[in-house]
Symmetry: C2
Subunit: 321 residues, 2 copies
């Protein structure tokens, strides 16, 4: 079961979601975000983790969907908080409808995610329900830090790593762990996969930070939202923490700038370039990806099965958006 097969299964299952006709606005907005083309990484990881330990991945599909719907719930609510207007190249839910609709469709999607957890295999339902709530809480905590950090310029790298651990890594890790549980993995292997997920998640998030500023978006919304909104990304924290006085003053000047958006983006990128921040970030990203791959080496399963997950990891590593 390679990446394409997994994606196909997930998309097919998502297309089967039944939405009530009324209230129209509520279900149209949920359908709108869930029908967008997305990478479906969380659902894919769930299926792949299950497949590592058993051929039949069918029992994992509802759980995979639960994670994916949960992820989309966080996107809708995060976009409200960030005042973001574009998501995957399309208007965000609150931009297309309004914030009230976005708030309610997010809430409904969180509940919908739980409905899919309730459809997970009976013998694992309790543990998956607990895992799901635990993870969801961590993601909210991470988002809270993300918001609180916006008004601070003295974030330590340790604090940033804790934030992305909560917001991204815990989720990817939980997806993999849930797949392993459903695949009936032994405790040791499931635990290794969890650690694999944490490292993958941290690598993935730092890379996301880099791509927001340096990547070619597949959707064409190029100008770095992170820079405009003073998001405390790996790049910015790295720059703030390794700058000399002149560089720091320049950074702080641009962080306080609200009007000249394009100039702000160009100036900060120039500073990043001068300080070789991107190169430092890629070193860290590589580090975490390698740590993740090292984990996989210690799992006791056939190479050909492992290779599917290794290939997918490399695909994530080499992504350009």
């Amino acid at each position: 079961m390679n990446y394409k097969k997994a994606l196909f299964l997930i998309n097919r299952k998502m297309a089967e979601i039944h939405y009530p006709h009324q209230p129209k606005t509520l279900y149209e907005s949920i359908n709108y975000i869930l029908s967008m083309d997305g990478k479906k990484i969380r659902a894919i990881l769930t299926l792949m983790a299950c497949h590592l330990f058993q051929e039949n991945i069918k029992p994992a599909i509802n759980t995979a969907l639960a994670w994916e719907i949960f992820h989309n719930f966080t996107l809708i609510h995060d976009d409200i908080m960030d005042n973001a207007t574009l998501r995957r190249g399309n208007p965000t839910v609150h931009a297309k409808w309004n914030k009230t609709v976005a708030l309610l469709s997010g809430d409904s999607m969180l509940i919908l995610a739980y409905k899919y957890i309730a459809k997970s295999p009976k013998q694992y339902r309790d543990i998956l329900l607990k895992l799901f709530s635990f993870t969801a809480t961590k993601v909210c905590e991470g988002q809270m830090y993300d918001v609180l950090f916006e008004n601070r310029s003295n974030i330590l790298k340790k604090e940033y790593l804790n934030l992305i651990h909560l917001k991204t890594a815990t989720l990817l890790s939980a997806c993999l762990y849930s797949g392993a549980i459903i695949g009936n993995a032994n405790k040791q292997d499931a635990k290794i996969l969890k650690i694999f997920g944490v490292n993958l998640g941290i690598a993935f998030q730092i890379q996301d930070d880099v791509l927001d500023t340096y990547g070619n978006s597949s959707f064409g919304e190029k100008i770095s939202n992170d820079i405009i909104s003073n998001k405390k990304t790996y790049l910015l924290i790295s720059a703030l923490n390794s700058s000399n006085k002149i560089e720091r003053d320049e950074l702080l000047f641009w962080l306080n700038e609200k009007e000249q958006k394009e100039k702000k983006v160009t100036s900060i990128i120039n500073l990043y370039n001068k300080m070789k921040i991107k190169e430092k970030a890629y070193k860290t990203i590589k580090n975490y990806y390698n740590k993740a791959l090292d984990c996989l080496n210690t799992i006791n399963i056939k190479e050909e099965k492992k290779n599917i997950l290794i290939d997918f990891t490399n695909q994530l590593k080499n992504r350009k958006f």
Copy 2:
């Protein structure tokens, strides 16, 4: 187990909720709303329903808490949507912190509610989990209608009843039903209690509408929020649907008025009085309370147990805020 005993047990259990220390803002805001003095009707109904069928209500306490936390989640998010500044006489979460904090603490509370459902008795957990998600979805649908109705002046009484059925009655009904399930009631009795809950919920919500406009708030925030925000309450819909041309024009004039808030409230109340809208509303309320009490008569349990629920119903019926 009378009303006071139930409230005591719930308050004690809520005081035991453990909040992590960090992120401080997130957990302070959750603790803030959950510590407010509230009527705890949903949790009380859960315990009372259980007690109808068995002496030991301990197995119902986690589920009771889940409903109460869920209800408070809806309050936080509703207050964002309604731009309300006061809740139970205190600043709303978004007024005290900000909308981002309110959004996130609401999300976290919905997850917290599910954590309590996950602690419900193992043999009923599946059915309670399903009931919880089903009910939560209905409440979101109800809130969506509530918001969508704001910009319409042609709401039918049927549409309003559907809205409050979804937003209030389904929840009260589910609380009672869950208590009956945990109390190991037979199917027939559990079903009757569900119908009792629907009628109680409709009566309760119409009464809430009346009290917002006519009641003496226990917290002193008297001026009718519903009138100021053009909320489609029982009173307003009743007035719109039974007005003659002159009355309707006057109503529509005041609905379009945004500035003169106090004058708007006084004028609309005067119109309601002239049209005897309050009396009509109380007739309907009494009707639904009676329907609810009729249901209780058909349940096959000792009168003394029934009387506790009848007393509580009468207490709700006679409330002044």
